[in-house]
Each structure stands twice: as C-alpha cells, then as structure tokens.
Symmetry: C2
Subunit: 207 residues, 2 copies
DNA sequence: GCCCGCGTCCTGACAGTGCCAAGTTGATCT
DNA sequence: AGATCAACTTGGCACTGTCAGGACGCGGGC
C-alpha cells in the first residue's frame, strides 16, 4: 500500500517486504548463484546499502525468502487437501500433488529451500517453517495406517516424502521425463503417487 | 607424477587435472556459492588467470567436476553391486546403497551434479556421464520385473530412482533423521529401499 | 509550535570476484 | 639455432558484499 512509487519518499516505508518480494522474483529469474543483493536494492529503488538495515547479510535475506517458501508450500498442500475427499489415501495423494505443484511453480525457490546453503542459515524460523510441511505429511500417513507401529509409521513417512520429493526434484532438473509434455508428466507423477500409497497401505497392514 | 612442487616450473604441466582436484576439495569445503576460481588457482599455485587456458569459465570447471562426479557415482554403484548376490532384488538394493553412500561422502558435489545450475551447462559430456548411472538403474529394474510392459518398467525406474534420490537428498539437508546416529540412519535408508523394492515388484506383477 | 532523537536511507570506500587484453616464458619442431 | 606457439604472467574493468559515516524526516517531549 503506501505511497505512489512516483514520489518515492526518502523513507521507503515497507522496504523489508519489498525486498522479499523482488528478491523472490529475482531468484526465480537468475537462479541462486545469480542472485544479487545490489540488484535487489536496485529493483526496490533504494541504494545498494539500504537492505543492510533490514537483513544482516545476503544469506539473511535468502533465509527469509526460504521461510516464506515453506509457509507457501504448506499452504499449497493444504489447498489441495481441501479439494480432496475424506479418504485417507486420497488425502495423501492430494498432499503430494500440492507439494509437486508448488515445486513446479517455484523451481528455484524450491531448490533454495532444500539446499545445503539454506541449512547453513540455521535459523529457528526456518526450522519451524519446515516443520509445518513435515507435520502435514506425518498426519496424513498416520491416518492412512492408524494401526501400524510408530516405527513402521516413521518408515512410511520417510518413504512417502522421499518418493514425492525425489520425483519432483528429478523432474525439475530434467533427469526424468525430458521429452514429456506437462500433461504426461503429471500423469506419471500421479501414478507414482498411487504406487507409493499402495505400499504404505500394505506395510501398515491395511489391505 | 610431474615435478616436485617446490621448484614450481613456469609451465605447470598438469594444471587442468590439478584444478579439477583442488576445485573438488574447495567445493566440498566452501559449498557451491563459496566456490571461487581465484581460490582454486591460488591453491594450484598459479596466477588468477591461468585457469582460463583450460576452462572457458567458472561454470566450465564446475561442469567438468560434475562429470567426474557422475563417473564416480556410477563406479560406487558398481562396487556395491559386485558385493551383492545374484538376486535381482538384492542387486537393486545394493545399487541404492552405493548411490546413497556416494552422496553421503560427497554432499556438495552431489548437490552440484543435481542442481539447476549444472543443468545450464548443457554439455554433452555431462549428459553422457549422467546416462551411465541411469542405465544401471534401468537394467536393475528390468531384471527385477522382466515381464512388465515397457511403460510400467519406465515408471518403476523413475520411481526407484526418485525414492532413493529423495531420501538421501532429504537426509543430506537435515530434513530426515536429524538426531539419528549414522547407524540408525542407514537402517532407515535400507528399510526405505525395501519398501521401494516391494512397490516395484508389485507394480511389475511379481508377487 | 518547536526541537531533538533515532530509525531509515544515502554516498563512498575496500577487498574480493570473473573475465578480458596484452605481455612473458620456455618447450618443441624444423 | 631460430622460430613458433601453447602455457602462464601481470594489469585492468565492472561487478559483488559489507562497513563507515553523513543526510534525512517522522515521532514524542517540552
């Protein structure tokens, strides 16, 4: 909101949010290694040193962007969940679809969130945001195989998450489905999810 | 090999290999974003512009390092394969173990190989090197479900790869098994592999 | 109504980066 | 021996992140 950009008051007013927003666009445009604090500042129409008052360093800005990413990832999963039926299997599949849809729509951000670099940030906010998505997955698996032991449940959470994450990751990097149309790719993703759910069910003792 | 370092002849003689070697170490030390051509040159005891005569750009050097990575990944899978029995299921599991062992031993290199950045290199050599590892996976799945259709086989190759790749990726990023001992982690990995094999078998019509 | 504090932003500078240009060295071939 | 030429050098450019110090202007206290 704030003032019209044409006047450009000395005090930007919402620079922090502006940096996160433009930074996110810049990230998707240039990739992680092409991401630049100065270009960010330029696009937000402030001087090159202005961001320092809101983010201690470049990594600090990236960390904040990653946190937003996790929140949006969780939201994407929840959105897909709302469209699904009550059947636990359908809900687990829906979450997987939401997960992959978010990754496909924000490939570089997704890579940032799950990159070793992001881990170096070590921020609690980031860990908390990541936990949100993880909790959803745990809940979905638990309601799919309620009678399974805790050990089996954890194993199946690992398995489910790894399948979904690995699949979309390899797709984004062009290692899977190189020549496929987006449509064909999605159908491959969904049938992969179906196979995964089946195994979870069996391991959980639900025929 | 070559001359003693102390003399340091004007012509290094094996600068290309030296850059790949030190570059790889530097990569693992500093991470992808901390990787620097000049630091590489410094460690190889040459001037900052010397690498240009062997690699057109920083990305070019990274691409070469990634190619070596793929070759080593393939080798790691083959090594584990040699230790395995003839049972197709055991062989597929063994390959997965080799894959994960390589990733765990070279986390940053592994990230580089499967990063969006690496994809921009677009080199044929890189694609060919990546194909080596992929072919192994195809063969292992094919011998596990010989009677399945080509479509199902391809789907299961993707699935097997995705689950292995996803699991080790999430582990490396600390999203799975944060507090686990290495021993516990490996057992989680192996049971994930078991679930994967089960899925492949069922999808392939082998009870 | 005025002034002053302080958060917000600015300009300027420094060391470090990738890459390009032009010069220097030394191994190799005729 | 002299010429050739790839391998290496120094130097410079535009760019980066970060730090220091100064300019601005919104708010609260008189």
């Amino acid at each position: 909101m704030g003032r019209p950009k044409s006047t450009r008051p000395y005090h930007h007013g919402e620079l922090r949010e502006a940096l996160v927003a433009t930074g996110r666009r810049l990230l998707e445009e240039k990739g992680i290694r092409g991401f630049t604090l100065r270009e960010c500042a330029r696009r937000a129409l402030v001087s090159h040193a202005a961001p320092a008052h809101h983010f201690a360093s470049l990594d600090d800005l990236l960390a904040e962007i990653a946190v937003r990413g996790y929140q949006e990832l969780t939201a994407a999963m929840e959105t897909e969940l709302r469209r699904a039926t009550d059947a636990p299997a359908a809900r687990l599949v829906a979450q997987g679809v939401g997960y992959m849809a978010f990754a496909a729509a924000n490939p570089v951000l997704f890579q940032l969130m799950f990159s070793r670099e992001a881990n170096r940030f070590e921020s609690q906010a980031l860990a908390a945001a990541a936990k949100g998505a993880h909790d959803l997955q745990v809940a979905a698996v638990a309601s799919l195989i309620p009678r399974a032991s805790a050990d089996v449940k954890q194993g199946m959470v690992d398995f489910a998450w790894a399948s979904v994450h690995g699949f979309i990751t390899l797709v984004l990097e062009g290692q899977i489905g190189e020549g496929d149309t987006p449509r064909a790719l999605k159908s491959r993703g969904v049938s992969m999810l179906a196979a995964m759910v089946e195994t979870v069910l069996r391991a959980g003792g639900e025929p």
